[in-house]
């Protein structure tokens, strides 16, 4: 079998003291099309402990639907400040409320930035409806996690490039790494210092992690799981068993995320 101290440690203990994982793409609570055994914050913390995940940045499923539910996430972060941070979801279907939301957001603790779910909300990430949030994020150097999918009319890597060019002080996390349109996604992450590839679901595609490391560098890749959707061990296993170095594995599983989260801890 492939030889790596990290693999040995994770296979034997399920976690690693030297590699405390940070999950940059989580959700929380029940959702429409899936049965979750472990949806509550406490369930998620149990899973995170089992898998050696020290911190997760989440956007609740409720907040993906109804902007009013964003506020509730602050309570979870307050209860578990060492384990969670949150993304405030911008739903462009309710543009009239967005200025008030940003005002609320500015007074709250526990958030690292915004979450866009354009494929589901049906407005492209370049829509003017996102502009107030993007301008606020630009002024305050925040993170924006976007669901991105290859060839989507709403959130393809080509559209991410347009935002990255315009908002140089926003850090864009390409959720699912623009799934399927790998070459273009990797190019955008390589060319723009403010764009990162986020691995949720993408990690399962055999060989894609090696490709990303080779072309964009392991410094531009972040780990995520969509928890409570996916067992973190699944994604961690995909990173560990890729043909990359232990240094790359540390970068992907925690170092890069630790650097990005520094201002919010």
């Amino acid at each position: 079998m492939i030889c790596s101290d990290l693999i040995k440690e994770f296979m034997e203990k399920g976690r690693s003291d030297s590699c405390p994982v940070i999950d940059m793409h989580q959700h929380m609570g029940p959702f429409q099309g899936i049965y979750f055994p472990n949806p509550s914050p406490e369930d998620m913390i149990r899973t995170m402990n089992r898998c050696g995940v020290k911190m997760g940045v989440f956007c609740s499923h409720a907040a993906l639907i109804d902007p009013e539910a964003n506020i509730e996430m602050a309570q979870v972060v307050k209860r578990y400040p060492d384990r969670f941070r949150a993304y405030w979801c911008i739903n462009p279907n309710y543009p009239e409320g967005i200025p008030k939301e940003i005002n609320q957001f500015s007074k709250m603790e526990g958030f690292v930035g915004f979450k866009f779910l354009s494929d589901y909300h049906k407005y492209p990430i370049t829509s003017p409806r996102y502009k107030p949030a993007l301008e606020y994020a630009e002024d305050h150097e925040l993170l924006v996690l976007m669901h991105t999918w290859g060839r989507s009319p709403y959130d393809s890597p080509a559209l991410v490039e347009k935002l990255a060019e315009k908002y140089r002080h926003v850090t864009f996390l390409m959720g699912h790494s623009g799934y399927g349109e790998w070459e273009r996604s990797i190019q955008v992450a390589r060319d723009y210092p403010n764009v990162y590839l986020e691995l949720t679901a993408a990690y399962a595609v055999n060989g894609v992690i090696e490709w990303m490391v080779k072309e964009a560098g392991s410094e531009k890749i972040l780990f995520g799981t969509d928890l409570p959707w996916f067992d973190p061990h699944y994604g961690i296993g995909c990173v560990l068993f890729s043909r990359i170095t232990d240094e790359d594995r540390h970068n992907i599983l925690h170092r890069n995320a630790g650097r990005l989260l520094q201002p919010f801890l």
């Binding site: 099309g33 399962a204 996916f230």
Partner: protein, 253 residues
Amino acid sequence: MKFFDCNASFGKPMIKPIRYAETARDLLEEMDFYGIDEAVVFHSRQRDDSPVVGNKILMNEIEGIERLHGTLAILPPQTGELGSLENLVETMKAKNICAFRAFPAEHKYLMTKTALGSLYELMIERNIPLFISVNESCGGISGWYLIEKILSDAPDLTLIVTEHGSWGHDRFFRPLIEKYENLYLDISRYELDGGIRDFCDKYGAERLLFGTGFPKWNPGGPILMLAQADITRKEREMIASGNLQRILGRVKL
């Protein structure tokens, strides 16, 4: 822990995957990298080409390799392309073939009793498992609807459903698991957090099989997920290899 992969393939597919194993020897190298001991395999030409061509390529490639167990792609016997059922069984015995695999979308046939009844009878009589991906379809039905169709036509068939997706399938497959006791699931994409534990609590560990989905999917995912699943060591071993060994041990050729 011994890993016995129920879902791997090799060969040069029509659509080039990012990574793949062209020959059986290349696949063995991949398996060594991940620490996988044995695998039930098919060759990509069995899917992408005529099964008449692909089955032969598979049998030649795996000849003499004990770690690889072949599956033959089926067709409705009525066209006679795969020869008589008796000859088919003889070939299987001689060539280390332990199961059948269905690609009804690619090979264009209906999975009905009318088309496959005699093959279903042969499989049931001799305990030969049938493998099918949940992404298959035929005659306008697909996914779990197709799986239910197969099982309602042949309730005693040993059916192994591969790569049921990661985006929430429990509501689809649990009713089938409860009704059909010879239905088994490959865990190559059963990524649901707490899914394996929850499933085993309710149904036991007998119905889940370790699989990788190589070359399309990254084998590291199911390997670490299963090695660290929140179930007993015995249950993990059953899923990793024991269940598949039991299923193949029952095959009478």
